[in-house]
Each structure stands twice: as structure tokens, then as C-alpha cells.
Symmetry: C2
Subunit: 271 residues, 2 copies
């Protein structure tokens, strides 16, 4: 495992690039501490299991993360990716590496100012992920072209990001974040079982919110529910961003924005 980005590293015939065949995780490193690392390593194992990929053992990942953290010379808050491909098509070891990167200016701006989101059809029905595991729903694979395309289409439609909606009308997720909505002192986010990523950041936000007196629930949400909420957020390991506009309509203010931002980014229970 290495972490140099700018020099050539992967073979041209690595299935990670030829087929998007591999898995990844992405998390925050703050003041030398990788955030929720144990959770990310556990999810990497689950994603690998979903695509039948043998990945290096946890100790090797932890060593790569530690080496990356100790050699980082950039900003105090940055992101790390763990990547594992299936390796060359003719066989051979997977390419496994940790990659450190600065947070993008867009991401920093969205944390501060929020985002305008548009809803996009995902074309799938709730529950299909469990009935059809070959669709790899909920796995963090390297095949993210659709996730990237959803953001591109959101921009064409005047937004910053997209929120996928299932054929049966339920809110799923954005291409890189989960959706959280507040109703009074109650926080709701859709359950992973509908066919979306099992969000580590939502889990930790909800734990912190419960400790602060919030009620939390993993429940299905309709798009109309979002319009009636006391705040909607896109929540990922890198970003807690309020949705200030949805499908071109300005949403009601989120009175708990400051409190929830603090809870979402606190380091209590991290590690």
C-alpha cells in the first residue's frame, strides 16, 4: 500500500480502472486523528464482501493510514481515501492504497453556505437491493459514474447536488451523502435497507443528537416531507451541509442548524 498520488501507480489493465471493480472508503482526518476509522474499515470489509473481493487485513490498512497521517504536511483537516481494486485482469494482487487529499474548496463552501439540491429519479424501487444483490446497492464500489453524473445533472438543473428518489416515491440519498431531516426535535433519515449506503456519519450524528435530547428515527421520507421539515441536510463523512433550496424552492430556515452542525462535526465517540 502506498499513498503517492502524482506518480504513476496503477497498471493500465487494473480492473479497478477497466471495470470500476473494487471498493473504497473516504473519511476525515483532523489534527492527526482519522475520524471513525474503525467504522470505515468495517464498511470496507462489507463492501468487499458484496463484490467478492479479498482485501488486505485490517492491520495493513491501519498501518497505511498511520503512515499517511504521519507524513501529511498539508492542512490540519483533510480527507483520506482507502482504495482496493481487483488488480490486473490476467490475475495478480489487488492495488490497495491510502490516498490523502486536501478538502476541496467547493466542499468547504457547502459546509458553510449549504447547498441547492434537485431530486432525480433513481429508477429503482425500494427493497430491490435485498432482492437483487448483484445490483450492489449500498456497496461503496469504484463504479461511481452514476453518482458523479447525478451531480453533473443537478448542476444543469441549477442545483449543487442531487437527491435520488425511488420509483415508489421515497427519498434515497445523494450521490455522496445521506439525507437527514428535522421535524421539531426529531431527526429522520431513511434506513439503509431501502437500497442505500449504510451511513457512518448519520449513525454518529444520531448518537450525538440523542445524547443532546433529540429523538431520532430511520424512516422513509417522501419528497413532500422534506418541504415540510425544519431543516434538511446532506450528511457524509466529509460534509454536513444544509439544503437551503430543493427543486428550486427555498426551504424554511433550520432553527437547529448551529446545534446540529456542532453535533455532526464533534469528535465525541469518534475513533
Amino acid at each position: 500500500m502506498r499513498r503517492e498520488a502524482r506518480s504513476a501507480f496503477l497498471r493500465a489493465d487494473d480492473l479497478g480502472v477497466l471495470r470500476g471493480d473494487g471498493v473504497f472508503e473516504r473519511f476525515l482526518v483532523r489534527a492527526g486523528q482519522p475520524r471513525h476509522l474503525a467504522d470505515h474499515l468495517a464498511r470496507l470489509v462489507r463492501s468487499a464482501h458484496q463484490v467478492d473481493l479479498e482485501i488486505p487485513p485490517e492491520g495493513a490498512w491501519r498501518a497505511a493510514v498511520a503512515a499517511g497521517v504521519s507524513s501529511w504536511t498539508g492542512s490540519p483537516e483533510w480527507e483520506m481515501r482507502l482504495v482496493c481494486t481487483r488488480g490486473p485482469e490476467e490475475g495478480g494482487p489487488p492495488a490497495a492504497y491510502a490516498l490523502g487529499q486536501e478538502l476541496s474548496p467547493v466542499l468547504l463552501q457547502q459546509r458553510r453556505d449549504g447547498v441547492s439540491a434537485v431530486t432525480l429519479a433513481r429508477g429503482l424501487a425500494t427493497g430491490v437491493g435485498e432482492a437483487a444483490p448483484w445490483l450492489l446497492l449500498g456497496a461503496k464500489t469504484l463504479s461511481y459514474a452514476l453518482n458523479v453524473a447525478s451531480r453533473r445533472w443537478a448542476k444543469r438543473l441549477g442545483g449543487d447536488d442531487a437527491i435520488f428518489v425511488s420509483t415508489d416515491g421515497w427519498v434515497w440519498e445523494s450521490g455522496t451523502s445521506s439525507v437527514v431531516a428535522a421535524f421539531g426535535r426529531r431527526l429522520v433519515s431513511p434506513p439503509a435497507s431501502i437500497g442505500i449506503l449504510d451511513s457512518i456519519s448519520v449513525r454518529h450524528l444520531f448518537a450525538a443528537a440523542e445524547a443532546a435530547g433529540w429523538e431520532t428515527a430511520r424512516e422513509n421520507l417522501k419528497v413532500d416531507d422534506l418541504f415540510g421539515a425544519n431543516g434538511v441536510w446532506l450528511c457524509s463523512s466529509l460534509r454536513f451541509a444544509r439544503v437551503h433550496t430543493l427543486d428550486g424552492q427555498v426551504l424554511a430556515p433550520a432553527p437547529a442548524q448551529r446545534e446540529l452542525y456542532r453535533l455532526a462535526t464533534s469528535d465525541e465517540g469518534a475513533g
Copy 2:
């Protein structure tokens, strides 16, 4: 553009691997002739357009193909891939290359002996590709993890390959091939507009078959139609393989197997 596979080539932060963000084509080279190259270059452009990716001009691809062909020292029949990624995440030129590879022994065996196929739910409805272009249906992107997974699941179910079926019961395609069925002297393959790849090999097979007195049609097929056909095939640029077994049931013999194999692999009209 280069074509060496075994040495390091791509950066670890290339979006081709981090996001499966890029496009590709794959075709046969036989006796020094790239088969249907103009069609593949045109489809590469269409795929790139679907993902908003600027790719090198046709002349650069043709030069890379010619260089690859002239330096090839392997078997007389082999495959070439053209790949173009979006390049490093922080910006920079895409990684664009031509990659020559030997045909896999499994592929050669399937051409000869045919395949056992299983049907798998695709979870999407016919026409969603046109209504939701962000799903990138029909684009040959580097995000093929689902296509790869479908074959893995087919094997678990005792088959060699999978045929995707839409929620409304129509036959779509396999992960790497199109479906063709014969009914007497009539060949049928589903139209690309339902949400599948626009197959170059089917187009050329149909042209050759028409010249040989066959009727051809792009029409929707139900799974039951396949059970009643006088032959079912998986057809790609690399493989024309008869489906001898579908969902565990042995299919009726294909009286035209020899003739269609010849038409599918002929070089008339190629180039």
C-alpha cells in the same frame, strides 16, 4: 496514449479508478485488422458525450490503434481496448490509452461450446434510460462493477453468464453482450432504446444476415420468447456464443448455429 499494461501507468488519484469515471471500447483485431473500428470510435464519442467527457480526437485514437496493431507480437486474433478516464481529481489531462490483450481461454471456449445463462432482475423499467439520462444506461463507462457482479452471480446460480430482465419483463442484455434470438429465418434483438448498449456486433450481424436472406427486427423479447426460439445467442464484439441452457432448462437446438456463427464473425463490411 500508450499501451504497456504491466508497468505502472495511471495515477492513484485518477478519477478513472476512484470513480469509474471514464469510457471505453473493446473490439477484435484479426490478422492485423481492427474490426469495425469506425463504429467503435463513434460509440466512444457517444459514451463520452453521455458523461460530459472531452476525449482525444479520432486521429489520436487511430494512431494509437495503428501503433498497437503494428507492435503486437501475440496471437493473430486478439482484443484491443480503448480507455479514456477523466484524469486526476485535482484536474489535468485524461488518461487515454489503447490496450492490447490476448483473448481469454474462457471466451474461446464459450464461442465453441456456448453458454449456460441465467436471468437476473435489473430493477429498472423499459424507457427509464431516456427519462433519466443521469443513469448512463447504454453508455460504456468504466463503472462496470454491476456487469461484473452479474456474471459472478450467474456462476453462483450454476450458469456462465447473466441476462438482465427489466421490471416490466423484457429481456435487456447480458453484462457484456447483447441477446439475439432466431424464430425460423427471423432474427430478433431488443432495441437499444429500452435502456441497453447500442450493439455494434448485432448491427453487423443483422446486415450480414439480411444479405443472406434472413429477416431481422429490433423488438422487445420476453424470457418466454427465448424458451420458444430456434436459437438464442449472446453477441458481442468478441464473442458469438449460443445459449444452450437458460435458467437451468436446456434450450432447443439452433439449426442455424453454423450459418449465424459464420455471419457473425465474417469480415464482410468490416472496417
